[in-house]
Symmetry: C2
Subunit: 323 residues, 2 copies
């Protein structure tokens, strides 16, 4: 495969000149430029980008750490990131971690090895301090509240978002409130749990473990929640469900089991996914695509203290009953 030197030779110029026309530098005569272009064409020459990366120390590649893709929450964020990356002429390299810490570290290592210029962490497993350490090697942004950290962040305040749902239910007279969560040990989940505990404490209700449904990701998981619910002696009057998918599963299963919504059970979803409109599901709207866009902007910024909170809002529809 022809390289820059070969081209220089057959064009009768120096490699520098070839490099100059390759990179659209000024100061090269029309005549020689044409010569070079012809040689390139003739030899079917193409630049070796790895050599460029090596010499420049830059790759125009951004890493994205994401647990999995096949879920509306993450695929929406990723879609936002990808679209904006395309506009800014960056490529994405995917680190699908499945919440595996080692895979996350591997991504961080790629930053150090200069395979990527920067890194977007959609779901953090490792310590903040570790991330800070790696910031020496490139720009990092985390999709989680990092106000108190020396790491850039773009995030939703999940404490407040959860609280807004809780307060809405309480204002409608609910006191027996449970919730469904994706992965209870996750960082975002911890925030929501805090909101839950604080709010229950405020209204003087005890925490009932059996009203907290962990591992709720999919429509099927929503089905299982209803099965569990049916077996409970004491049932909640309302459920906060951290994914519209799961809420959809609950709604559909309830309809099968003849549990009437919202009369017998009130539901609030999260995300405001299109499905929620169709189910007339009251939900918390989360700007996921936009968050993806902002994540990309943030990671491109040199500013090391960038923190952006994304807005959210409750969309009232028909799955909450006033008691």
């Amino acid at each position: 495969m022809a390289n820059i030197r070969d081209v220089a030779k057959t064009a009768g110029v120096s490699v520098t000149t070839v490099s100059r026309v390759l990179n659209n530098h000024p100061y090269v005569s029309e005549e020689k430029r044409k010569l070079v272009l012809e040689a390139i064409e003739e030899m079917n020459y193409h630049i070796n980008i790895n050599a460029v990366h090596l010499t420049k120390g830059v790759t125009k590649l951004i890493g994205v750490v994401i647990p999995f893709i096949n879920h509306p929450y993450f695929s929406s964020i990723l879609d936002g990131i990808a679209n904006e990356a395309r506009k800014n002429n960056y490529k994405l390299i995917l680190f699908q971690t499945d919440y595996d810490l080692d895979k996350e570290i591997e991504a961080l290592e790629m930053l150090r090895m200069k395979q990527i210029d920067s890194l977007i962490i959609c779901s953090r497993e490792c310590e903040w301090s570790i991330i800070e350490e790696y910031e020496t090697y490139g720009s990092i942004v985390v999709c989680e509240d990092g106000q108190n950290q020396n790491v850039k962040s773009v995030y939703i305040d999940h404490y407040q978002a959860f609280k807004i749902g809780l307060d809405f239910l309480i204002n409608r007279g609910h006191r027996q409130i449970g919730y469904c969560i994706g992965r209870r040990t996750g960082k975002n989940s911890k925030q929501r749990e805090s909101a839950y505990l604080d709010t229950l404490d405020k209204i003087g209700e005890p925490v009932r473990e059996e009203w907290i449904f962990d591992h709720s990701y999919t429509i099927e998981d929503g089905e299982k929640v209803v099965h569990h619910l049916l077996r409970l002696a004491e049932k909640p009057t309302a459920l906060l469900v951290t994914s519209d998918q799961v809420a959809a599963g609950i709604l559909m299963q309830c309809s099968k089991e003849k549990i009437f919504i919202p009369n017998e059970l009130s539901i609030i979803g999260f995300d405001n996914h299109p499905i929620s409109e169709y189910l007339q599901l009251t939900t918390i709207d989360l700007p996921l695509e936009n968050m993806g866009i902002e994540l990309l902007h943030a990671v491109l910024k040199v500013d090391t203290a960038h923190h952006k909170q994304m807005p959210f809002r409750l969309v009232e529809r028909k799955t909450v009953k006033t008691l």
Copy 2:
């Protein structure tokens, strides 16, 4: 940032020796190995992967050409690819094309420039001949029937899959059949259109353009389909819908408009997405995650004539009426 030479110096050995311990080569004394390891640790040395790529001419990076991510069809395939890539210690670089030919060519160019070792094309825009041309530079596999091409392929026979749905409807007495499609000009869509035209021809029914609903991707698009349907003087008795999402939108909107399914309209979806079970939607099961896995296997194979057809099957539920 320390490089291999610095390490060699402080370890008091040659770069070759350092390289040897880095790559676990034999023929290096335990003593010197220890020396090197210590130096590496001490200097916080880390290999520069771009230099490795340059010298080796290999990157362990696989490109994935995909129109967009935020849709169950593509995110399922991508999830399959990503999981299997992880197992095989490959990384993915994303080329989100939004069906833009230029972006696809760009991915192909990356193959030539050796930024990626191989390429998975989930949705083809460019000519087969172009792809063949680029095969010189690395392994390529296309997610589309390539039996008659010199390009590896892993695919679903969309002609047959569509036909199976059509035949099912016809066997149940339907003759006025329409369909919803994502992007009529797409390669897969052409196959389905052929099946449609052939089948209609066989049963002696004319093609009615107004029964073909283009641009159907999302739940919302399903809603629009119903609106259009309501305005038609002559309506189909059945609809083949190439995405369960869209079918879900249709079902939900029909329920709002008091159109009873399947009594007034029969529906067959595609994908067998979890939502279809909940809606008791009759659908064609497509093994999308598995197809992702097979795509990755295929692209790793040296064999240049690999063609794998994925199976599919009709899952009968409750949205088709026997006339």
